[in-house]
Symmetry: C2
Subunit: 431 residues, 2 copies
């Protein structure tokens, strides 16, 4: 058996402790699959006395992750500190500059600085691997980068945030509203005290930006991702979706378009019989379509200590085995710069819900505006009769149209005196 | 860019032609992802004049695949001839002995001779890769071998044969019987003229044996796979399954057990809300559960020229990049010999359908036999009242029991004069 691979772990939170636990539990198995022993020889974390449930005897301790990253006695730095900038990025840059391989679970950092870090890795002749940054333990990066490498990718979409999916699934099955389910998710530990990253689509957008770079061999462009979260999805929309044969999911969608790339994260209505519609609870799933392979789906737990540790160790075993793949499938210098297609150019169907005063002429006023923007109505439902002056929902689905036209129409519809609340719009996706 | 990787393709059927087409269509992309140009420089096939829809100008032609395999001017042999023995195996052995990497889509050969061929590859210092042998373009081998490499695999199961899944899906939705649907599948080209490989579970068992070796790092043991096909599944069982909340799927199941491994392919009733229950049509899917990652699912097209070519080229890009992974995750010399657990030791629930004469005392006689073997009844349905002497179905589901006990009881039940046809038994799996 060859030389031991010496690991430094920066950050000993839940994922760090999980990774140490995995490497201790499966020491023999990892050595056999990696072709050599893999040993954590150093860690960096703040509080030395905290009990993390793992044996740290014989492991060198650093207070400063950058000092750990520069240590010549480690071959691989595992960065589990988190945050797009600050100590995490400093440590990663220091390691890459020192000729030390880096494995990271840090989606924010890779989404914001992936291209530049991949270049640094290439310059240092080392690996920068980030399987754990996308969908936890599901080997999404490996599958797109290697498993589907023979394909031009026609499109990728996925449920990239478990918390949002849990909330939407629960809203549907329990009939409760967003706020109530979020509060429960926070109590259960599925959602953070500040839920913005999860429910506003930021976390999903981080992952989508990374997936896009992998699928299209382009520079990571987080700023090019259109983002809309799930705070505005209400129970009544979920009920109408069911009635119309759809299910509401927060999807990340990436597509190569003429001369550019489209990246967007927003709630979608997807046909109820689509495989992605049936991914429920905290699970993540990614659907990738290639020109030769057709459509493939990858599903599993997208977060948590165990799944994330699993992804970190998969990258570690690759490095132990001698794999030296570029971060985004091709040499960093060859990553294309693809312009992002603006959301206003999205072409597709729409679901609209308008809360209207129940009086004659309402529908005529709304449909006249849609007609003016060449938007063709596919179906319309007016449900219930409210007491005088109370709002009743009018639900419209449209045939395919441009987002720009839809937004113009919605602005005008919102100004109608009979429309009592801001119109709600959810995009329909037949993926 | 480094030296060109020179490819020899043995076998120019649908998959061979698809592979050539992929490599021509995506020549630039494959070179970029593989880090070097990848070029088919030689082929072996019988009929030189046949039009295969691909440009073969400048490609050297061999009649004998073994001569191609021994050619020092190729770096990788792609074997697409098929068959567990004969020219396919001869060519693969010749290539490995000549220090030439091998990529194959040949599940029968790997299922029967995988261990010995992996040893030959190791001795020759070359790669033997077979992603295309399992579930077409879905990167199942890569995912288990590399993506989940940090896990002890607790169990793997899957829909491993698209033809059987198509037939069962169609029987359920159309209400037609096996024979009629099979005939249609044959007409559509989904099933071979001799359907035995597909509908008797042999093809699924080939794939399962390979998956088992990967998941448990043990020698490939095709003879250890218990096999039962779908010919006996009838429309009435599919209807009862729906009524009981199940769906019937032909599954391959592998599990590590105390001191051994369990490998079986047979029709199963799975809960209708299980992800695997919703994999329909010709799709394949594999569910792998690891101790850290939890449960993951991989779905896609399991056969066809495009998907299979996609898997072949994924292996090719790995080799071009310099990956040198052992066929079954660990060194061939380290593959364990695991005894197979006999089917008689299966412990689980059962669905029984008995065609009985409709007369008093029938149920008493059957349940007495079950009681004698300590088998506890979970539910019982007697449907319809037949005219005097005509058989009516009695459906029983049991609590967990041993297969040996169930078989003893079924033999006795089958001998009861009121039981007019051979009892039908389908195993219930809560995976």
């Amino acid at each position: 058996m060859s030389e031991t691979l010496r690991i430094g772990v920066a950050g000993l939170g839940t994922v760090g402790a999980g990774t140490l636990q995995l490497l201790q539990t499966h020491y023999e198995m990892v050595a056999q699959r990696g072709g050599r022993p893999v040993l954590v020889t150093a860690v960096a974390a703040r509080d030395r006395r905290k009990d993390r449930g793992v044996d740290l005897s014989g492991v060198r301790w650093f207070e400063d992750p950058v000092a750990l990253a520069r240590d010549p006695e480690i071959d691989v730095l595992i960065e589990l500190i988190g945050g797009a900038e600050g100590p995490a990025k400093d440590a990663v840059e220091a390691a890459l500059a020192s000729g030390t391989h880096v494995i990271t679970a840090n989606k924010a950092m890779i989404a914001h600085h992936g291209t530049e870090l991949a270049r640094a890795a290439e310059a240092g002749g080392v690996v920068l691997a980030c399987e754990a940054a996308v969908c936890g333990g599901i080997p999404v990066i490996k599958s797109i980068r290697e498993g589907l490498a023979g394909n031009a990718i026609e499109g990728v979409h996925g449920i990239l945030n478990g918390t949002s999916n849990f909330i939407l699934s629960d809203m549907r099955t329990s009939g409760r509203e967003f706020g109530e389910v979020l509060a429960e998710a926070q109590a259960l530990g599925y959602a953070e005290a500040d839920p913005a990253f999860d429910v506003d689509g930021i976390d999903a957008a981080h992952k989508l930006a990374i997936i896009t770079a992998l699928a299209y061999n382009c520079q990571v462009d987080f700023d090019g991702v259109y983002m809309e979260g799930i705070r505005e999805v209400s129970g009544v929309d979920i009920d109408f979706a069911e009635e119309l044969g759809y299910r509401i999911k927060l999807l990340g969608i990436a597509r190569r378009t003429n001369g550019g790339v489209e990246q967007r994260v927003h709630p979608c209505m997807v046909p109820r019989n689509a495989p992605i519609a049936n991914v429920e609870g905290v699970d993540n799933a990614v659907v990738a379509t290639g020109d030769f392979v057709g459509t493939t789906l990858f599903e599993g737990q997208g977060a948590g200590a165990g799944p994330t540790a699993s992804a970190v160790v998969a990258d570690l075993i690759d490095i132990a085995r001698g794999a030296r793949l570029p971060t985004f499938a091709v040499a960093a210098s060859a990553l294309e710069t693809l312009p992002s297609r603006p959301m206003s150019e999205r072409h597709g169907s729409y679901y609209l819900r308008l809360m209207c005063r129940d009086q004659p002429g309402v529908i005529a006023g709304i449909t006249a505006i849609l007609r003016d923007d060449d938007i063709s109505v596919e179906s319309m439902v007016q449900r219930g009769r409210g007491p005088q002056g109370e709002a009743v929902p009018v639900v419209i689905t449209t045939h395919e149209t441009d987002e720009a036209a839809m937004r113009r129409a919605l602005a005008r519809i919102g100004e109608l005196p009979v429309v009592l609340e801001a119109p709600r719009m959810i995009r329909i996706e037949h993926l």
